[in-house]
Amino acid sequence: MQNQNFHEEIHAYPTAKLSVEHVYKEFTNSSGEHVRALEDVSLNINEGEFVCLVGPSGCGKSTLLNIIAGLEKPDSGMALLDGVPITGPGRDRMMMFQEHALFPWLDVIGNVMFGLKQKPNLTDKERLEVAKYYLFLVKMDRFAHANIHELSGGMKQRVALARSLAPNPKILLMDEPFSALDAMTRERLYGDIQDVWDKRRKTIVFVTHNVREAVCLGSRVVLFSPHPGRVRREFPIDLPRPRNINDHDLADMSSLITSELKGYQAAESD
C-alpha cells in the first residue's frame, strides 16, 4: 500500500506550459532613477521544454524568472501557468538560485525533505523514500546525512537540485545555478541536468549569461537585450542530445548567438 504511494509519486511526471503576456516591470534604483527591467515581454514555453534565457546583466531575465516563480509581481501584463494567472509562489514551480540556499540547520536529506513535508498524501516513511530517490538521481545518495558545510560547491548545487525536484513540480526555474562553480564541475553538471530533464520530463526555464551554457542545455535559447529588457530573438537548438559543451556544432551555434548579442551591444554604445 505504502509502496504504491511511493511509486505513484515518482512515476508521476507533471508538467505544464507557461505563457508570459506583455509583461512590464519597472524598478527604482538606489539613486532614485526608474529602470525599465522588462518592457512588453511575451514568451510561450511548451510542456516539457527546456528554455534558456540569455542576455547581459540588466536585461531583466532574472526578474522574469522571479515573476514566473511568483516572488515578484509585474506592473502590467501577466504570467500564466496552463492558462491560469500566477499570483504567488507555489509548489508547482520550484526555483533554484545562484547561491545554493540550502538550510544549514538541516542535513542533506533534511533539506530534500523540506518541501516534501508540506506535500499531503504521503506518510513520513514515503517522503523519506522519495527524498532518497532524488538524492540517488543527482548522485548524492551517499551523502544523505552529511552537513551542508561539508559539501563542495558542485555537491551543494546537486542537493539544491534534488530539493527542487523532490516535491515533483511542473516547472523548474533555474537562476544561474552553475555560475559560481568551476569549469570542471560545471561540465559534469551539464551532463547530469540533461539526464535529469530526460528522466523527469519537466518544463525548465534556465537563466544564464553564458551563451555556450545556454546552447548546451536548451531546446530553445531566448536572447534578451537590456535597457529596457526585451526579447531580442529566439533560437531553436536542434543539436542531438546528450550534448557536450566542447562540441563543434555547439560552438558554431553559440558564436552565432554571441555575434547577435555583440551586434546590438555595439549599436547601443554608438
Binding site: G90, M95, A101, F103, F114
Partner: protein
C-alpha cells in the same frame, strides 16, 4: 589530556598556596598563617562548612529555593524576550521604540532594579523574579532581533517557492536560521539572570524562602568568611554546570551543523 592535566595542576597549586598561607599545612611546618580565619579562612574550614551544611540539608533546601526563582524568572524572561525580539526585527517602529528601550536597559545592571522592586512588590518572591526577568529579557530580546535580522533573505524566498506559508517560514526557517544568535542570547540572558538573582538575594531578605545568596549575606553579618567563600564556590559551580549541561551541548551541535568554529 595534557591540557586537562595542566589545568588541574594549576588549580591544585592555587589551593595549596591558599592552604599554606592560612595555616592548613601546619603538619609540614608551614604553621605561620598570614591572616586570622575571620579575614581569610583556610580551605579546610570552607570544606567543613560546605560538608556540614550539605549533610544537614540547609544548602540543598536553599539551592532548591534559588534554582526555582532562577528558572521561573528566566523562562518568563525568554517568553517575553523572544517574541518581542521577533517583532523588533520585523517592524521598524518596534525596533525604534522597544529596541532602543532594550538597549538602554541592557546597559543597566539589573541589581539597580532592586530598590524599585522592593517598593513595588515588597520583600516577596515577586520582587526577586522581577529583578531576574529584567536581567534576562533585554539581552534575549536584542539577540533575537539581531539573529533574525541576520537571516539571509534567500532562505525565506527558497521556502516560499517550496510552499511555506509565512507562519511556516517563521517557525521552520527563520527561527532555526537565527538559532546560533538566539542560543548565544539565551546563554547571555542566563548569565545575567544568575548574577542579578545573586545580587538581589544578597540585597533583599525574603521570608518566603532562604536562598543561596542569603547564606552569603548572613555569612557577612556573622563574620563567617568560611561561609561566604563556601557560598561563592557554590555560585561558581552552578554557573559552570549550567554552561556545561545546558548550553555546551547545544552550542557544539550548532557548530558541527553550521561548520562554524572548532571544539
Amino acid at each position: 589530556m595534557k591540557r586537562v592535566l595542566v589545568s588541574i595542576t594549576f588549580f591544585v597549586i592555587i589551593i595549596l598556596i591558599w592552604a599554606a598561607l592560612t595555616g592548613d599545612l601546619a603538619f609540614l611546618g608551614l604553621d605561620q598563617s598570614l591572616w586570622s580565619p575571620y579575614i581569610m579562612p583556610p580551605p579546610s574550614r570552607v570544606a567543613a562548612y560546605l560538608w556540614d551544611n550539605t549533610v544537614n540539608g540547609k544548602l540543598i533546601v536553599s539551592m532548591g529555593v534559588t534554582l526555582r526563582r532562577l528558572l521561573i524568572g528566566y523562562v518568563i524572561g525568554l517568553v517575553i524576550g523572544v517574541p518581542l525580539g521577533m517583532l523588533a526585527a520585523r517592524f521598524r517602529c518596534v525596533q525604534d521604540t522597544l529596541g532602543h528601550l532594550a538597549l538602554s536597559f541592557q546597559a543597566l545592571p539589573s541589581v539597580c532594579w532592586v530598590p524599585l522592586a522592593c517598593i513595588w512588590f515588597g520583600q516577596t518572591e515577586a520582587a526577586l523574579l522581577f529583578v531576574v526577568i529584567m536581567g534576562t529579557m533585554w539581552s534575549v530580546l536584542l539577540s533575537t532581533e539581531n539573529g533574525i535580522r541576520n537571516v539571509p533573505p534567500i532562505y525565506a524566498r527558497a521556502a516560499s517557492t517550496m510552499g511555506s506559508s509565512p507562519l511556516h517560514t517563521l517557525v521552520f526557517v527563520t527561527m532555526p536560521a537565527s538559532a546560533p544568535f538566539i542560543v548565544s542570547g539565551m546563554k547571555q540572558g542566563w548569565a545575567f539572570a544568575w548574577r542579578s538573582l545573586m545580587a538581589a538575594e544578597i540585597y533583599v531578605a525574603v521570608v518566603s524562602g532562604f536562598g543561596i545568596g542569603q547564606h552569603l549575606h548572613y555569612g557577612r553579618e556573622l563574620q563567617r568568611m568560611d561561609q561566604v567563600i563556601g557560598v561563592m564556590f557554590i555560585i561558581i559551580l552552578v554557573g559552570l554546570l549550567a554552561d556545561k549541561l545546558l548550553f555546551s551541548p547545544v552550542e557544539s551541535w550548532l557548530h558541527r551543523r553550521w561548520g562554524t568554529g572548532k571544539d
